[in-house]
């Protein structure tokens, strides 16, 4: 069995969500054909199973119209079905499918798709498609939590490839990728200083794509550093229609998170509700996370628990998963369940340590430090009600004097 085929199947069936698995299995049947074609260009693809599964998935509502993953699968299916000997067409389609999987946060599956694309590559393939593949493959590594090791070299590889192809946009995107990595390591100061420099440099070679992504990283770094006005200023720039829809959706998320911290809960709610309409799961899940935080802050326990249950088994990027555990911890602490809050923070801490996300490690430690000591609560169980009752009785004795004082 081709190792890539096996890896994709494991990724598809390891999700733990029946609907997501059904989606990925459609892709699996196409991926098998791509693996065969990488070895033998004369292979006649067997797309009938994938087609049937795709139709069934549409009937079941697993795919909805406008779903970007569906568009990418349909394109890959067309490329295989055309039976043209053009590898360029197939290469382009599988890279697009990899990008769609990245946006659905199916990182293992996306990574396999990009690896198969390597096998399909020939010099006839478009240089831009190859740069695109290298760029997203790097993002899969970085956002997937592998900020140590190979991900360190991917920005350089992308920059070298882009320079050879005389593509300045991807040279800039290589810088953006590097900056993404720096931010996840927790060096916010370097992220901000470098980001502002890169933003200025983009004036000589404008690229709305690189600019949008840079603004996104900068806004996130400013937000994390507690510089909310700058975070909102950058997020507001990202809402401009000239940027890619993903940049605008990221702006909504960043605005929502910052507005929550500023106490503008209604405006934040609007931002998160808009995210629920996003065509990619990544942003829909961000919307759910934001709403979960809002419910916790408004002490809406039932709604919080509903959002928590919904998000518990959803695939999330490692940083989003840590964020989820932070929100869960804060929520449970708000509702007085300190032990459960502690468990959630412990999960976040373990993930942050495992991935080497410096900022998240410190943030989790801060959260844990603010939790009341559960042992202390237990020790006060016998005395606290007694003291409370005594003081309340004293206050009642002096109620008249207090009222006069406050008049």
């Amino acid at each position: 069995m081709d190792l890539h085929e096996q890896a994709f199947l494991s990724a598809a069936l390891g999700v733990g969500d029946e609907r997501l698995e059904q989606r990925l299995l459609v892709g699996f049947h196409l991926i098998r054909d791509c693996c065969r074609m990488a070895d033998d260009p004369a292979w006649v693809p067997r797309v009938s199973v994938a087609k049937k599964m795709m139709d069934q998935a549409i009937i079941d509502g697993v795919f909805v119209p406008g779903d970007l993953e569906l568009v990418a699968i349909a394109r890959l299916l067309d490329a295989l079905e055309s039976r043209s000997s053009s590898r360029a067409l197939l290469y382009s389609a599988i890279v697009a499918y990899g990008v769609a999987l990245f946006r659905e946060v199916s990182f293992d599956a996306a990574s396999t798709a990009f690896e198969i694309s390597d096998g399909l590559w020939t010099p006839a393939c478009s240089a831009t498609d190859r740069l695109e593949a290298t760029f997203y493959r790097g993002l899969v590594l970085i956002r997937g939590g592998q900020i140590r090791g190979a991900s360190e070299q991917v920005p350089l590889q992308l920059a070298l490839q882009a320079r050879a192809a005389l593509n300045h946009e991807f040279v800039a995107l290589a810088g953006v990728m590097r900056q993404n990595r720096v931010m996840l390591t927790g060096n916010l100061q370097a992220t901000i200083v470098e980001g502002e420099k890169r933003l200025k440099r983009l004036q000589s070679r404008p690229s709305s794509r690189a600019e949008g992504m840079l603004l996104n990283t900068l806004a996130a770094a400013y937000g994390r550093a507690g510089n909310f006005d700058q975070a909102l200023r950058h997020a507001s720039r990202m809402l401009h229609p000239r940027y890619h829809f993903t940049v605008r959706l990221a702006a909504l998320n960043l605005s929502g998170v910052t507005l929550i911290l500023l106490g503008e809960l209604d405006a934040a709610e609007a931002a998160f509700e808009l995210l629920l309409l996003a065509p990619t799961a990544q942003f829909r899940r961000s919307g759910w996370l934001g709403l979960m935080d809002l419910h916790a802050r408004r002490a809406e326990r039932h709604a919080f628990e509903r959002a928590y249950e919904h998000m518990l088994n959803q695939p999330l990027t490692p940083d989003a998963k840590i964020h989820f555990w932070h929100l869960s911890g804060r929520g449970w602490a708000t509702f007085g369940d300190v032990a459960r809050a502690r468990l959630a923070y412990d999960e976040a801490y373990a993930l942050a340590r495992a991935y080497g996300f410096g900022y998240e490690i410190f943030e989790t430690e801060d959260h844990i430090a603010t939790l009341p000591d559960p042992d202390q609560l237990v020790r006060t169980v016998d005395i606290a009600p007694e003291v409370a009752a005594h003081i309340t009785a004293l206050r009642d004795d002096h109620a008249g004097e207090i009222a006069a004082c406050m008049a």
Binding site: R46, V154, L160
Partner: protein, 287 residues
């Protein structure tokens, strides 16, 4: 070195191809439902011997295994027979249905590394199935090297890792180090630098090593003659083949084909060859 001929399976149903001739001598151990066995028998055109795994003696080994992973339950007699075959590096093909439950069993049966997954009613047409069975020993041989190098390749850039894996799998696609660098999307110098940083041999070793590993399969396992092996690997004559085998194992092709070469030992030396940097070679030569 152009024209390596046995890498791509023959597309015609010709019984005179070397692969079909190999198949005619093979014993295929099966762990399948009756309807699956019928398809397999049709595909092999009754030239190979099909035997149910349950009928195997404790020491007997077949040439190829064809299993439905749904039937692989732990602690059954069949499972222990399969385990014994896996330990003996007998190639294994999975043959199962397209249902989600069947595919789940493919993922669950992780202790077996099948060379190919054949889906019922999808790719079990006689021609394809016959090709899969006949190429299984070669794929299994290749997989041994891939698995041995897996950990060493892991820290590399993804594109480099995939390219080197392809070099092992499909050596005919790469004629020199430049081809490998082109496929990895890097300059040759940069690629060699990355390999050095990862304590691996330069690209040229990989090109030579992959070809030599393939030659070893033909000479040791396939029992082909030296001339036939050189010809099938696309060498102009057997001199270049001799040079490559000498570089990797310090043996002549005749020694490989005549003697009872231990494939595990060859594998160990191949791994060393692929992990030896040029400086190491120079140091070894000077000492």
């Amino acid at each position: 070195m152009h024209g390596m001929t046995d890498s791509t399976a023959p597309r015609a149903n010709s019984a005179s191809t070397p692969q079909a001739a190999d198949l005619s001598r093979a014993t295929i151990g099966t762990l399948l439902d009756a309807v699956f066995v019928d398809r397999l028998a049709h595909a092999t055109a009754n030239t190979a011997r099909l035997r149910d795994l349950a009928s195997f003696d404790l020491d007997a080994l077949c040439d190829v295994l064809v299993l439905d992973p749904r039937r692989l339950a732990p602690s059954t007699l069949e499972s222990s027979i399969v385990r014994r075959h896996v330990e003996a590096h007998v190639p294994c093909v999975y043959y199962t249905a397209t249902s989600q439950q069947a595919l789940r069993s493919v993922v669950a049966a992780s202790e077996v590394t099948p060379v190919r997954l054949v889906l019922f009613d999808v790719d079990d047409d006689p021609t394809t199935f016959r090709e899969v069975i006949s190429l299984a020993p070669r794929h299994a041989h290749t997989n041994r090297l891939r698995l041995a190098m897996k950990d060493a390749l892991h820290p590399l850039l993804p594109s480099v890792r995939v390219t080197l894996d392809t070099v092992i799998r499909r050596p005919e696609q790469f004629f020199d180090a430049g081809d490998v660098a082109l496929r990895a999307g890097l300059s040759r110098r940069h690629l060699d630098r990355l390999l050095t940083a990862a304590d691996l041999a330069p690209v040229k070793n990989w090109v030579v090593g992959a070809r030599a590993w393939h030659a070893a399969h033909l000479l040791v396992c396939g029992r082909h003659s030296v001339a036939a092996t050189a010809s099938r690997l696309g060498y102009a004559d057997s001199k270049a083949l001799r040079r490559h085998l000498a570089a990797v194992w310090s043996v002549s092709p005749t020694m490989l084909s005549c003697g009872d070469a231990d494939v595990s030992l060859l594998l160990d030396e191949m791994v060393t060859f692929l992990r030896t940097r040029e400086n190491d070679e120079a140091d070894a030569a000077s000492s």
